[in-house]
């Protein structure tokens, strides 16, 4: 009894050697779907999270090109299956049978970064903490664990420390991953971690490895990533709402391609459509984008956001003003920089924020 308790206690940290990563995660994949960052295609220039398969290449050396958003909020997802049938009680009548498709299978996302998880904390506000609870999001969210890296790979586009997070932010994560020489130290952050560690079949780290990890964490904690200032933007968006010269300045080169929303961990907008196949079919939810004209177009033909200026204003406004106004100050941006890296015309949301700030402060002074 005593021995077992001791063993459990020692399992709050495990060490995974470099060459043991795939095997360890394969052990876990008997019980969970394990999502890991791997190359999108043949080459390695683009990374995305995919379910682990035997012999796959797991790349933890840089941020993934696409965030793990689709793990919880799939790009396309069946909400309801429907079928029209003859009524059993009255064959002259039709019946409609509806089936909710709710996925509660257990998932581990291994190798997220603080910005990735921050994205879900933002989405949680909308899907779980409003007047209505999104049962589809909830089912996947509650059954998903995150093993998150202490992030040492910030580049010029990163600014997580400017938006309430940071490279050592473990909020929302169940396991912290610290890269050290020769492997990774995994550390349990929530109760759910010990169950994982018991399935991993790994050694506990030795004293030196623990000390190495401590040093790495200290280094990451001391990092400040990004120097964006967001003061005044909350009010500034509304104050500058009709300053179309400003918005033209910010968004004139926008192509309305929507890639910024596609790669964004905090962009969650969706559409709902029906896909019929004869008398049965599915009601689907799919990612949508506020960058698209059709997104707000009404049946009458009227569109409240008819040009890219209104649409970009809404995207920036939503992230830095409307969302924090609605959800106790939280900025709906995780500072991952993906929109900046992916934009084909090099629009930098930080510059937009900066211009709104300047215009706003300029206004206040004059």
């Amino acid at each position: 009894m005593v021995a077992r308790r001791k063993e459990k206690k020692s399992q709050n940290r495990i060490f995974i050697p470099l060459e043991g990563l795939n095997q360890t995660l394969e052990n876990l994949s008997k019980h969970f779907t394990v999502w890991v960052p791997m190359p999108s295609g043949e080459n390695e220039w683009s990374l995305e999270f995919k379910p682990l398969h035997r012999g796959c290449k797991i790349l933890l050396d840089r941020q993934s090109t696409l965030p793990p958003k689709k793990v919880i909020l799939p790009q396309g997802q069946t909400l309801i299956e429907y079928e029209y049938k003859k009524s059993e009680s009255d064959p002259s009548k039709q019946d409609l049978v509806l089936r909710e498709v709710i996925d509660e299978s257990p998932i581990i996302v291994f190798g997220t970064r603080p910005c990735d998880v921050r994205g879900f904390l933002v989405c949680d506000k909308v899907f779980l903490q409003g007047r209505y609870i999104d049962v589809y999001y909830r089912a996947r969210r509650l059954n998903t664990l995150f093993a998150t890296l202490f992030c040492r790979e910030a580049d010029d586009a990163c600014f997580c420390s400017s938006v309430g997070s940071g490279p050592a932010d473990m909020e929302g994560s169940d396991i912290g991953i610290t890269p050290i020489d020769g492997g990774w130290i995994l550390e349990g952050l929530t109760d759910r971690a010990s169950e994982i560690f018991s399935l991993c079949d790994c050694e506990a780290p030795d004293e030196k490895q623990i000390e190495d990890a401590r040093r790495v964490q200290e280094e990451v904690r001391s990092m400040r990533v990004g120097n964006l200032r967001t003061d005044g933007v909350l009010e500034g968006v509304k104050g500058q709402f009709q300053n179309m010269e400003l918005w033209r300045d910010i968004a004139e080169s926008c192509l309305s391609c929507g890639v910024c929303t596609y790669v964004c961990p905090t962009c969650y907008c969706f559409t709902i459509t029906d896909e019929p196949q004869g008398l049965r079919g599915e009601r689907l939810r799919s990612w949508d984008s506020c960058m698209f004209y059709q997104y707000t177009q009404e049946a009458s033909g009227h569109n409240p956001r008819p040009t890219k200026l209104e649409r970009y204003r809404n995207r920036l406004g939503h992230k830095f003003s409307y969302f924090p106004l609605r959800y106790s100050g939280m900025i709906a941006c995780c500072g991952c920089g993906r929109c900046i890296r992916s934009c084909p015309v090099s629009i930098d949301i930080r510059q937009g924020v900066e211009r709104v700030r300047e215009a706003h402060h300029g206004c206040v002074c004059s």
Partner: protein, 278 residues
């Protein structure tokens, strides 16, 4: 762990019990939810909306225009403008329809108690006002004088024509108008804003509730202000493209407000504090 959370995307299954043609492009349908318990407990405020759902085509948002006390059916008036509304127009009694609701805020009728009420409607804009009008008639002692200015393009474009005499009998002061002269038309001729300024109702202790096409609303607001109405005395209901109807999917926002969740009813005072993105 297994906490039951209702699925806000799952419609109730209902049956169309009656279809009433209103105008060449508007039909009113009455729907009975199949589950008698759900029907009995379907409580809503005047002005709240529901998503009507034809599986295989999709969903669209409509105001529930029957009064909340009516437990025999839920009533919706549907203008044919898109795919879903086209399909709804093909429904006949006995057909199945999904209902998701009630959604949205509804009218703040409590704060209108003791006041005179002026309804101003144009075309299909009468639908959201009908439910409140009937609700107020049921609680007539709580309100002062109830009047209605209702305009449509032609007499044939006027909804609920068959009911208007009943409303008048129950004490509503009704002024009807159409855009241009029409054979047999004995009421007013002219646009709603013009008729409003001719009628010139006093703003004293009166609440104005406006719904209609955007251009009508714009000039009616102008007229009401001319007459001395203040922004807190004026209410309207907004329309936006909607999908989820529950403040999640994102598209119907005006700044930090969602029309589906925080609206569709707003006072002019609230609208003034929101971003102008109509």
């Amino acid at each position: 762990m297994a906490v039951y959370v209702p699925n806000p995307y799952l419609p109730e299954i209902g049956t169309v019990t009656e279809v009433i043609p209103e105008t060449p492009n508007i039909k009113t349908i009455r729907v009975l939810l199949r589950d008698p318990e759900r029907m009995k407990n379907f409580n809503f405020r005047p002005g709240q909306v529901a998503q009507l759902s034809v599986f295989g085509v999709g969903e669209a948002t409509f105001v529930i225009n029957s009064p909340p006390t009516c437990k025999d059916y839920l009533q919706f008036s549907v203008m044919k403008v898109g795919e879903v509304t086209n399909r709804i127009h093909q429904l006949v009694p006995g057909d199945i329809i999904g209902v998701r609701g009630p959604l949205g805020n509804g009218f703040p009728y409590e704060m209108m108690e003791g006041k005179d009420i002026l309804f101003i409607a144009g075309g299909i804009g009468m639908a959201p006002l009908r439910t409140l009008l009937l609700f107020m008639l049921e609680n007539k002692n709580n309100y002062g004088e109830i009047s209605l200015i209702y305009g449509a393009r032609t007499p044939q474009d006027m909804c609920y024509r068959y009911e208007i005499p009943v409303w008048q009998k129950r004490g509503v002061n009704v002024v009807l108008t159409v855009d241009t002269e029409a054979p047999g038309w004995t009421h007013r001729v002219g646009f709603v804003p013009t008729v409003l300024s001719e009628e010139a109702p006093s703003p004293k202790d009166r609440i104005a509730i406006v719904c209609g096409p955007p251009i009508m609303i714009k000039f009616v607001l102008f007229g009401l202000r001319e007459l001395g109405f203040e922004d807190w005395q004026i209410y309207t209901t907004l329309e936006k493209r909607m999908k989820c109807g529950i403040g999640i999917c994102g598209r119907c926002n005006m700044g930090e407000k969602f029309v589906c969740l925080d609206g569709p009813v707003f006072s002019m005072e609230e609208l003034q504090s929101m971003v102008p993105e109509l």
